[in-house]
């Protein structure tokens, strides 16, 4: 009885062959991004198992909700109602500001209008895909028109961008990943800086800020929209500490992301749509 995968004497040859194929695959993946088909096939095939594995967690979450006491629910409803009232009031103010803003822009004949973004809520199905990269998986994929490079925001601020799209789900790279960078600007002074992840969920670094720049602890950095990835004016991080080193041309600035990157449950997918140019195609899909 001979089986299909018989160990023949050419095993070292086979090893060598597989090593070459692996290296070729890695190079083509890294340099030319020609491997999307393999990824989406395997990823799509694994999706049912992935959902199955998350069932115990979902059940325990559901049980926790089901057995919440009446008192705690009541207090939660109360605090949410209060929050809602507060935000309604703010929203009215915002509507007035928007009108005023548009009128001023019309007066100035500015071609820039406030972007109308369409959004979609997504659940996080898995965090920490990889022990040393800040990747999460969300339950929206190709079928929901998710595209590579799409911006993901949370309730407090920018969370990250989509790096891989599968048929039913997709992977998101968080802004705290060391390989992630975005161009942020200080909303007080307009100073632009590169915001780079540190590998830890509660801090990011701001690079290329010259030591004479006007920056203070507590400054809010928001997306500049100039990196071609993130829409403008979404808050990202607040300055935590500023390190000045004698003789260095740049400051070492640490900031804290506004979004709670290690405890998020739901996120929003953004589709930027620019009113004025008439382009409603998602941008950034260049791969």
């Amino acid at each position: 009885m001979k089986s299909l995968f018989t160990l023949n004497p050419s095993t070292p040859t086979r090893l060598l062959g597989l090593l070459m194929v692996s290296i070729a695959l890695m190079v083509s993946d890294h340099r030319y991004h020609q491997t999307h088909f393999i990824r989406s096939t395997i990823g799509g095939a694994l999706y049912p198992l992935e959902r199955l594995v998350s069932v115990p967690g979902d059940i325990s979450k559901w049980l926790a909700v089901y057995f919440t006491t009446r008192a705690s629910l009541q207090s939660q409803v109360e605090s949410l109602e209060r929050l809602n009232l507060f935000q309604q009031a703010k929203l009215q103010e915002l509507a007035r500001l928007e009108l005023e803003n548009n009128r001023l822009r019309e007066l100035l004949d500015s071609p820039l209008q406030r972007n109308k973004n369409s959004v979609l809520l997504a659940d996080i199905i898995r965090v920490n895909l990889h022990p040393f990269r800040k990747l999460i998986a969300i339950d929206r994929g190709q079928q929901d028109r998710v595209y590579e490079g799409q911006a993901i925001v949370g309730a407090q601020g920018i969370i990250g961008q989509v790096v891989e799209v599968f048929p039913m789900h997709s992977n998101v790279l968080l802004i705290s990943d060391p390989s992630h960078a975005l161009l942020a600007e200080n909303n007080r002074t307009g100073l632009r800086a590169l915001l780079v992840g540190s590998g830890e969920a509660d801090r990011v670094y701001l690079q290329n800020i010259s030591s004479s720049a006007d920056i203070q602890i507590g400054d809010l950095f928001q997306t500049s929209g100039l990196d071609g990835l993130y829409p403008r004016n979404y808050p990202v991080a607040r300055v935590l500490e500023i390190g000045r080193v004698e003789g260095e041309a740049f400051l070492s600035v640490t900031a804290k992301p506004l979004a709670q990157l290690d405890s998020i449950r739901e996120v929003l997918l953004l589709w930027p749509e620019q009113n004025i140019s008439g382009k409603s195609q998602p941008i950034g899909h260049d791969k």
Partner: protein
């Protein structure tokens, strides 16, 4: 071919047994994938053993004539997709680790459990070193020593995996 024809009873019995091990293999691989995909609290996450490689080492030593490097390579590729790593990164390390085990399989069959627990980290090491080098090339080198923790946890869990799967010599259920 001639032996097959002359002894059909034996052949069918053999193929039946092969089918049994194949289904055991597939089942154990699905379990390994499920364990890899299992969401864990982040403080336990870093202790997660390299399940898939551990199971593959078991099968490669147990049945080297059936589960070769091709199988190992494909499963490594699947892990690459799961982790969002470069395609081929885990596959490369898996193939080398399993190749070493395959070369050792006759001696490994005779190893006692403590000896196996020395062999396992040595077998895992090439995979982790290669993966580390690839991260380095990509400028993503893991910053903390926690990267190496799965070697320890995998070794610690090995006796259980080995016993549940029936041991390298196949003395028990499988």
């Amino acid at each position: 071919m001639s032996t097959q024809k002359s002894n059909p009873v034996n052949t069918s019995k053999n193929s039946h047994r092969n089918q049994a091990t194949l289904s055991n293999f597939l089942f154990s691989i699905v379990i390994a994938l499920a364990l890899t995909l299992m969401p864990l609290p982040s403080n336990i996450e870093q202790y997660q053993p390299e399940w898939l490689l551990l199971f593959l080492i078991f099968w490669v030593v147990r049945k080297p004539e059936t589960y070769g490097l091709g199988t190992v390579w494909i499963l490594g590729l699947i892990l690459d997709v799961i982790r969002g790593a470069l395609l081929g990164q885990h596959a490369l390390g898996f193939v080398i680790s399993c190749y070493l085990c395959q070369q050792f399989h006759q001696r490994a069959h005779l190893f006692s459990m403590p000896q196996q627990c020395i062999l396992i980290p040595l077998a895992l090491l090439p995979h982790f070193i290669l993966s580390y080098l690839v991260y380095g090339l990509l400028d993503q080198s893991p910053s903390s020593w926690h990267y190496w923790l799965p070697i320890v946890s995998s070794t610690a869990i090995w006796p259980i995996v080995s016993i549940v799967l029936g041991g390298w010599r196949g003395a028990k259920t499988f």
